[in-house]
């Protein structure tokens, strides 16, 4: 719909002079066909296309198959593979220490929705500059197939039996927590995922991208809502989505102008959302939630940009951190002089 951004091809250097393989990592040790591998591939592609400077990105993760994947992309970026469920706090510290970095964080549904739910919600309140990607397969892959908190009520799995509890919808959780960028993708829909990831990386605060990423080892039967089969059949994109880099014109193809909503991002890039089913408005949290609940009822996998609010200050702004990152301050800034020190002592 929008003019396709002049995509660099794999072997031609991008805007910062890097070729696609410069964004690769170690070979994946995940299962063949795992959704997480598909997502990692899109990350490499997106980073290449956007011309990210590897040293301006940090990769963060928790523990799980999903959380292993940062080793498989952006090998020239620093990264930290934290504890199970506790990546958000590590991210908070790292991004406050150096607020010029942007984080590309990968977590799993168990990592975020089960053990990590509290940290996830509190991270979102603080609104750090990061893309929080959840590779959501409804199970614990790495520990071999138990239900995670995002498994749907009634899901039957060979190993884990029947899940009797309602699922946690990590997009709904993000919306209620006040997150300004909430999207859902599907590992089987690469084009949309790339657009969402680009927009997420351009967002000034925390962007949640919950990607249905099937676990071929433990949860990929067609009747499971986290399977490839189900996703292919029941994915309902809210809109056709196009990412427009800064300085480029939005050119609407295919769709009537009036049918497209333009979302401006903080760095000057834009998203063009061409309406599909309805003129979905991501600015209203209550409607977003209503739509999510309705989709759950009807068994749809709703994808796209579900909620957007570009106004909320980032955490670095809330903490009023100055230009120079905390981690780069030198002793001259950090150690008060003798006189000032003496003046304080005089008061005691």
């Amino acid at each position: 719909m929008t003019r396709p951004a002049a995509r660099p091809t794999a072997r031609v250097p991008n805007a910062v002079g890097l070729v696609k393989s410069d964004y690769g990592g170690l070979p994946s040790t995940l299962c063949k066909g795992c959704g997480h591998n598909a997502v990692a591939n899109q990350i490499v592609q997106v980073a290449f296309e956007l011309g990210l400077r590897p040293h301006e990105v940090v990769k963060l993760s928790g523990i799980g198959c999903s959380s292993k994947s940062p080793a498989y992309f952006l090998g020239r970026s620093h990264g930290f593979n934290a504890l199970h469920g506790r990546m958000p706090s590590v991210a908070t510290g790292a991004l406050l220490a150096n607020h010029r970095l942007r984080a590309l964080a990968v977590s799993g549904d168990g990592d975020t929705g089960s053990i990590g739910l509290g940290q996830y919600k509190h991270l979102l309140r603080r609104n750090l500059r990061m893309t929080y990607l959840i590779e959501n397969n409804g199970v614990y892959g790495l520990t071999k197939g138990q239900f995670s908190a995002t498994a749907e009520d009634g899901l039957e799995l060979k190993y884990a039996g029947t899940n009797p509890f309602p699922e946690i919808d990590l997009c709904a959780e993000a919306i209620v927590a006040g997150c300004g960028f909430v999207a859902r993708g599907f590992a089987g829909d690469a084009a949309q995922l790339r657009a969402l990831l680009k927009a997420a990386l351009a967002h000034r605060g925390t962007a949640v991208v919950d990607v249905i990423s099937p676990c071929v080892a433990f949860n990929n039967d067609d009747d499971s809502r986290k399977s490839y089969g189900y996703g292919r059949k029941h994915e309902v994109p809210l809109h056709d989505i196009g990412f427009v880099p800064p300085q480029e014109d939005v050119v609407i193809e295919d769709h009537e102008p009036g049918e497209t909503r333009i979302v401006e991002l903080h760095d000057g890039s834009r998203l063009a959302l061409a309406k599909l089913e309805s003129d979905y408005d991501p600015s209203d949290p209550a409607r977003a939630l209503a739509r999510l609940f309705a989709a759950r009822e009807s068994g749809e996998i709703l994808t796209g940009l579900i909620r957007f609010d570009g106004e909320r200050p980032s955490a670095a702004e809330a903490f009023r951190i100055g230009d120079v990152p905390l981690a780069e301050r030198s002793e001259r800034d950090l150690r008060p002089g003798r006189e000032a020190f003496d003046a304080v002592l005089d008061r005691y």
Partner: protein
């Protein structure tokens, strides 16, 4: 009675001339949340302003309003500051009236709110009755404020009794209110009217006096938490992440205040951030994240928080991330006694985390050291690239102590082995032991030299930080970590050691118990019993400590916990000296008195009970 222990009645006896100058212990019994803290601190500071060494301890309940609180003041020309059974008792709390009156020793002084009903009569003590209601009658203030102001009555009467001039009290109040005159003006009249009432109506019948001396020049009055905060600011802290918990909260409060003043916001913003995390698990996670990203980061907590930090502590150790963790200890296990002091986390913090971990632990034993370790802990954490635990305690952290004026750091910051930009070699590997001391070079995110990029993790890794399950990689890495531990032994602060030639006995202590130990030692010396004394200031043990333990025939490890934790750490580290490590381990939430310590040490010194009792009372 829970807090005051009338064990040493003879202590109140006056000297030969019937007068006790600049040497007494006093307690004020009030209810929590009634504002008595201002009166107490003003009294403390008035004595200090007269040049007399003094110390104050607040023994308060874990609630906000209405429960009993006892404020101890010890004035001592000799400079002793350990807790001591009170000779003067101010009984202003109806709920504890009976116990408070009972605790006054024979010959002691009782100052009583005359309005309290049913106070038992004591004809063996000097009793002064303060007509609080009458003194407050003409005070024009809102009822809540009036409750607060009523405490100024005992301040006024005590000031007169002790011989503290009103203008000294006024200066003390002004300091107390950080110079805000209006607050002084609201309080001072009540003090003055009580002072005058006492002058007119009381006859001084007790021996206790303050007389000006010159022992507090170049001396500060400060809490350990405040000192720690100031030290951290000077140490260049940039990120503090924490979760409120008594008794560490005031450390972070002070940190914010000092940062606002000493590193004020510039036009573009601040060079620091204080994050109130959602819990301690998140707080330490933020600190680890910031440390990894190259910032000086810290947290402050107490026992329950330490428990919650266990998993991250292990990650920090193993991924080798600098971090500073203050544990202002309170009584555990579990929620325990949140407002009572303890040394009960030493062993746990030293080895916090599953698997084979070990953390350097700093053990401040004074407010000066709280300040010093405030900055030194960052140097150590970055030099060793590991979490460093600083174990203070409620007594040290929340109470007001004298200290020589703090010394500005004598060396620039030591940021350790950090490589940036072109300094990063082509063959950079995060965990390669280039120098052979077990401490490897690190790079930090954001560096444009991408050769330095590495992926930190709590999983097994090789020297290049790449995931590895290989047995050899595991062993090689662990062997290096042991080399680093050997390096740590040389870098942590040495103990304060006072060896008495030919002494058989070495007493080992740590932290705030040292005040009672020092005083007990002086008492015991007067009885002719001498011993060497080693105050540990850090774990692991370095050469000096080891030698002291090896060269003394007998050792007593004295500590404030039940399980003899420090003794256990020493025994595990130096099994060869273990048999001679006798233990004195005691915990009930109250700071030790010199009397207690002397009594405990006696059997180790071959002193008989009778002689000691005499001596201890001296």
């Amino acid at each position: 009675m829970a807090v005051l222990q009338p064990t040493d009645r003879s202590a109140a006896r006056a000297g030969g001339d019937g007068v006790r100058v600049n040497d007494f212990s006093l307690v004020v019994a009030t209810a929590n949340g009634t504002g008595s803290q201002t009166a107490n601190l003003a009294l403390l500071r008035s004595i200090f302003l007269q040049g007399v060494p003094v110390h104050g301890k607040n023994v308060f309940p874990s609630n906000i309003q209405g429960l009993p609180t006892w404020f101890h003041i010890r004035a001592s020309a000799e400079g002793w500051v350990a807790r001591q059974a009170p000779e003067i008792v101010v009984a202003y709390n109806p709920r504890t009236l009976h116990e408070d009156v009972a605790v006054v020793p024979e010959g002691g002084v009782l100052l009583l709110d005359d309005g309290l009903r049913g106070a038992p009569e004591r004809d063996d003590v000097t009793t002064y009755r303060v007509p609080v209601a009458e003194l407050m009658r003409d005070v024009d203030a809102k009822p809540t404020l009036k409750t607060y102001l009523a405490n100024m009555t005992y301040l006024g009467v005590l000031a007169w009794l002790l011989g503290l001039p009103l203008d000294v009290v006024e200066r003390a109040l002004l300091k107390q209110f950080s110079g805000r005159r209006s607050l002084v003006d609201a309080n001072l009249p009540v003090v003055a009217s009580a002072w005058r009432w006492a002058e007119e109506r009381l006859e001084k019948r007790d021996p206790y006096r303050i007389e000006p001396m010159d022992a507090t020049r170049d001396t500060m009055l400060i809490t350990g938490n405040d000192a720690a905060a100031l030290g951290s600011v000077v140490g260049g802290v940039t990120l503090a992440a924490w979760y409120p918990i008594t008794p560490s909260t005031s450390l972070v409060d002070a940190l914010g205040a000092h940062l606002e003043e000493l590193r004020p916001e510039r036009e573009d913003g601040r060079d620091w951030a204080i994050v109130q995390a959602e819990d301690e698990l998140a707080a330490i996670g933020m600190v680890i994240g910031a440390g990894w990203a190259g910032a000086r980061a810290m947290t402050a907590t107490s026992g329950p928080g330490i428990s919650l930090m266990a998993e991250f502590a292990g990650l920090g150790y193993f991924a080798e991330v600098p971090a500073v963790v203050w544990d202002v200890q309170r009584v555990g296990p579990s929620t325990g006694l949140p407002t009572r002091t303890s040394q009960g986390d030493v062993a746990f913090a030293h080895a916090l985390g599953h698997g084979d971990v070990r953390h350097p632990v700093l053990l401040p034993g004074s407010v000066e050291e709280c300040f010093e370790f405030g900055w030194r802990s960052f140097d150590l954490a970055e030099r060793l690239q590991t979490p460093v635990f600083v174990l203070s305690d409620l007594d040290l952290g929340m109470n007001t102590w004298m200290a020589p004026r703090f010394a500005y750091p004598d060396a620039p910051m030591d940021r350790g082995k950090v490589l940036r930009g072109d300094a990063i070699p082509d063959d950079f590997g995060r965990y390669r032991d280039v120098d052979g001391d077990g401490v490897t070079y690190r790079t930090v995110p954001g560096d444009a030299n991408e050769r330095g990029a590495w992926f930190g993790r709590g999983t097994g890794h090789d020297a290049d930080a790449v995931y590895s399950e290989r047995a050899e990689d595991w062993r090689a890495n662990q062997d290096r970590l042991l080399r680093k531990w050997a390096t740590a032994r040389e870098l942590v602060p040495e103990p304060e050691l006072d060896v008495v030639p030919d002494a058989e006995l070495l007493v080992v202590c740590m932290g705030s118990t040292r005040f009672a130990v020092d005083e007990a030692r002086a008492r015991l010396e007067r009885l002719g019993a001498t011993f060497s004394l080693m105050r540990l200031r850090a774990l692991p043990l370095g050469r000096v400590a080891r030698e002291a333990l090896e060269t003394h025939a007998r050792v007593v490890v004295l500590e404030m916990n039940r399980n003899a934790q420090l003794r256990g750490v020493l025994a595990a580290d130096l099994p060869e000296v273990a048999p001679k490590l006798a233990s004195i381990a005691h915990l009930d939430g109250l700071p030790f008195t010199a009397e207690q310590v002397a009594a405990w040490l006696k059997p180790h010194l071959g002193l008989d009970r009778a002689r000691l009792a005499k001596g201890a009372g001296a």
